[in-house]
Symmetry: D2
Subunit: 334 residues, 4 copies
């Protein structure tokens, strides 16, 4: 049994709590910390049998019963808490992005070098999604041949509120970062060069924050494949999450998930359901699966499926994307 402490009781912290409680064998959440926990949250946590509830996460790090921690706090604290946790001898699952600064991520990597027994996983949950995993599986099985063109469509149902945009690091580090990781995962390769064509088409308020809400991002992968990501902060029909990998032998493509397969034919046309509304509905199973594999790696001491390199790489691409917008040119990754 792996005893887990969760640091941060916001939306994603609660997702992990529920998913560990209900869907992950061999693990239990024994402690949860958040400086700003309200009564509702506290009662939810208690209801799921968590013994220690505290405001200061140091209590969790100091608790010898805790084997692993999930870092679900605000992004600017991910790196420093991760390093503290690593040094306290805990396994660490850190939400994405590890940080907005490559230097800070490097500090985490350095801490890991010194603590080789520590299992450190980054929360790129989409790698564990049934559809995207099937794309990679087809590729690994040789069904696509060599990768030539990867296309990722990633569109949110609604933009975040402007206040959030300010602290988010911008669309590329907040939203596209998942797609950058997907591009690396699905082609099994790192990125060599980035070019972004972007615009503010959804909401001028986003532009006023210095951010964009619509983009087409071209990537040149190290293995020679080309990739393109298209992003929008608002798709009228909901959360649009698709990938298509084309290669020398063929193509594998995924569609959006829906609540049911029911299709209604009537005088207006032939109408199926919209995509599942947002990431909590769409990716719920992937949150359980990433946790199962993290628990497994901790228990067995095997390699985690998404390590610090992936966490660093996605941020590196995101920063290059921002630079491409600023300088209006393709940018090579260092």
């Amino acid at each position: 049994m792996l005893n887990i402490g969760i640091i941060g009781a916001g939306r994603i912290g609660k997702v992990h709590l529920q998913s560990i409680t209900y869907h992950v064998k061999g693990a239990a959440v024994v402690a949860m910390a958040d400086p700003f926990m309200n009564e509702e949250t506290r009662s939810l946590i208690e209801g799921l049998g968590v013994k220690k509830i505290c405001s200061d996460y140091h209590e969790i790090l100091a608790d010898p019963e805790v084997d692993a921690v999930l870092v679900c706090s605000s992004t600017d604290t991910h790196a420093s808490i991760s390093i503290e946790a690593i040094e306290a001898g805990k396994h660490v699952f850190c939400e994405k992005p590890v940080d907005h600064s490559l230097e800070k991520i490097q500090q985490v990597a350095d801490a890991l070098e010194k603590h080789p027994a520590c299992r450190f996983q980054v929360g790129f949950n989409r790698r564990f999604d049934h559809n995207f995993a099937a794309v990679r599986r087809a590729y690994d099985a040789g069904k696509i041949g060599e990768a030539h063109i990867l296309k990722i469509t990633s569109r949110d149902p609604e933009p975040p509120n402007p206040a959030y945009i300010k602290v988010s690091g911008g669309m590329f580090l907040d939203m596209t970062i998942h797609d950058f990781d997907m591009a690396c995962f699905l082609t099994n390769s790192d990125v060599e060069e980035v070019y972004v064509q972007s615009a503010v088409l959804v909401d001028p308020a986003i532009g006023e924050q210095g951010d964009v809400d619509t983009a087409i991002i071209t990537l040149k992968m190290k293995n020679g494949a080309l990739a393109v990501i298209d992003n929008s902060r608002r798709a009228a029909y909901g959360y649009d999450q698709r990938a298509e990998l084309f290669g020398s032998k063929g193509m594998v493509a995924t569609a959006n998930d829906t609540l049911s397969s029911a299709v209604i034919s009537d005088a207006n046309g032939v109408t199926g359901e919209k995509p599942l509304f947002f990431f909590l509905e769409r990716y719920m199973e992937s949150f359980s699966e990433e946790m199962r594999q993290f628990v497994d790696a901790c228990e067995k001491g095997t390699e985690v499926p998404v390590g610090i390199h992936a966490g660093m790489q996605a941020v590196r691409i995101g920063l290059a994307a921002k630079q491409s917008v600023a300088e209006h040119r393709p940018v090579r990754l260092a």
Copy 2:
């Protein structure tokens, strides 16, 4: 060059005229007869280069230049005109049904016995449809294995007007007769037994004519397969024409054709186009293809793809279906 005379200048006669003129190589319509031809029709026919236009079809039968005739007159004259044409030494393409009476169809068969050089084809055009032909091709190729269950969905967009229903012979001889032929074609087998569960759900006026407008028809095929046809005289979303053949190794299924593959995703759902509206749109290409194969059989003296046996068989099943409704029991074919 096969010189063709068309007897009957109604809707289907015009379809064949246009399809031969535009889409069939090696054949030309040289004569057309109809006792009730209006000016518009005459001008259409002239415009397509037909040399002889007459009211009495005997002129066509007597014309030594005419190699083959298409019998597109009203159903009650199909058999007698066919026999005259056979005896006049013409090849014959006869619209479906050959007749509502098995005796009269037998008379046509008898005439054919005496004129073995005559190519006689029945107008079951759906056999030449790209989708249904693909089902049969998959079956012939062994991809389905032995046939176990055939499902045919056949629903019209609108019921015919009540006056037509009176002379149509009822839904089973008018509309379902195509599906009966499809059942034989797709399983490559004759029918052994018929059971009908039917109702008047679309329009009470149809019931007042002694007919039904909704039915589920179960067939036991001679090769052991079971088949089911479902019919409605009115599908709100248009013309619904699908088939599904299930067997020991798998299943082949078809979908409806649409004008385009465009699908719109918006706040209301994910909506594709309705099926092509009615048989002229849906089956236009099959009318050309049946004619090409008829012309080919005439020119080469080879076997026609749909002979008098198929024409007889479909009517036999239709009559058994009517008997099943009347006697509320399964009916074995003689």
Copy 3:
């Protein structure tokens, strides 16, 4: 918190145990009984925190802590154990079929009359499936208009072993019984008449047991709709579970669920995944949902979603289907 005892630790008993433990809030399995429990099963049950494990179900019925029991024993004991449980003051969830005999089901109904506080639910889990529920929802919302034609396709991936067939009551009471319930559920109506055309096409050994393995079943519903079920004991491509409801305003149809939406296009064609393999994969979520609603009805004293009438009705149709085969005619329900 509803305390539940499970009687029977076979496949379906374990499904309910896991689904209550992991997916149902407000309920816990506190006791489980089976006369033939092996070590593996016992250890699984213990691992999920069940306090009382016994061989005699009477211990569960006598336990004042147990609020509700799930009857997951062999079919021939469903009715008698249900009656005992009702009389012991427990709520009862009884697996399908309640019995093969209408008399025995009536005895359960009689017991319920005398214990009006008892919540009694029958295990027709497919009513809670996301696809079938969406069909009914569309119908209830008036999108289909009046129901005219219902089509249910229900095909198993593999036939059961011959030994099981002997005790199963035959295909209609074992497999089709779910489809009979679906027909009533999806049209929101009872059945008036049944006609079966059936065959032994999958395995002669099934015929030797006096059973069939392939069938087309036509139903006339009390509300005037026609329905057809097609069954096979073996679909080469897996578990085929679809429904299509056609009415005056349109049609709603469902497709099979798959593990992912990935589609591979290559030189061989455009290939998607096969349906989810069998009922445990396909219907897992519906088992949780039926249990949630049962727990809810017990806690609140509200009506259960699938009561004894539905349990009786499905068996009544199944028996009529057997009679239709035996007497080769349509059979009206009493």
Copy 4:
């Protein structure tokens, strides 16, 4: 009746001959010229009733019976023959591209200025395709709202032979030029900026010719929309031609056309047909439709649907694309 002369009896000249003969009312091909016509071609042309067959196209230009000419010769002669035909008082349909040089296209435009009665149409047939036309129709009808992201996938089944690549002007002027026109057509806007990420992944021999075979092309449209085209010279599954337009209110997307809708489910999966093999199969109907609209514009003196501006624009984008590759940067259109 519009009398048409065709200059050039290669593949596309024959396509137009057959399509006018069989599918276009109110027009006839009366003359055809090609300096290198073989016996087979001559006999095909004669068989379709063309009266004048000659080697020198000047005979056609001098023929007062000829109302319009189709310029289907090699690309380097398009502009000069078009100008001669315009000055000879003929209407002109010119195959794409009008020329590889903007100066020469401008000369054609200048000639048209002086002959305002001349109808001059460029052969961008895909605008008349049922799927792409449906996308534009949805956009024009306001169903997509403002255009934000356009995605075009355009992949050939096989690369052309290396000899052709030499004279083709490279992939962007030969193949992508259709997609450039589509981008303008589907967003109803001109292009402002182009960026290309390209590679040689299909065949090194293409690279040796100084060309590329795989590309992702990002376009910024004048109306603010972003567009992306992905190209490959070889898709193992055939000719891949799709478009997806995303906007403020929703998305419209098309799929590939297939020979039939038949889908086979078996132990290997659920497999539909590959896309129609190549442009002759895929776009045949669009060749007829562009010709119908050209004939109509000539007869009525109305505007042609694809004029010299579109012909110029597509080449302009193609040249910018080549420059983007050469200079590895986004290129603004003059």
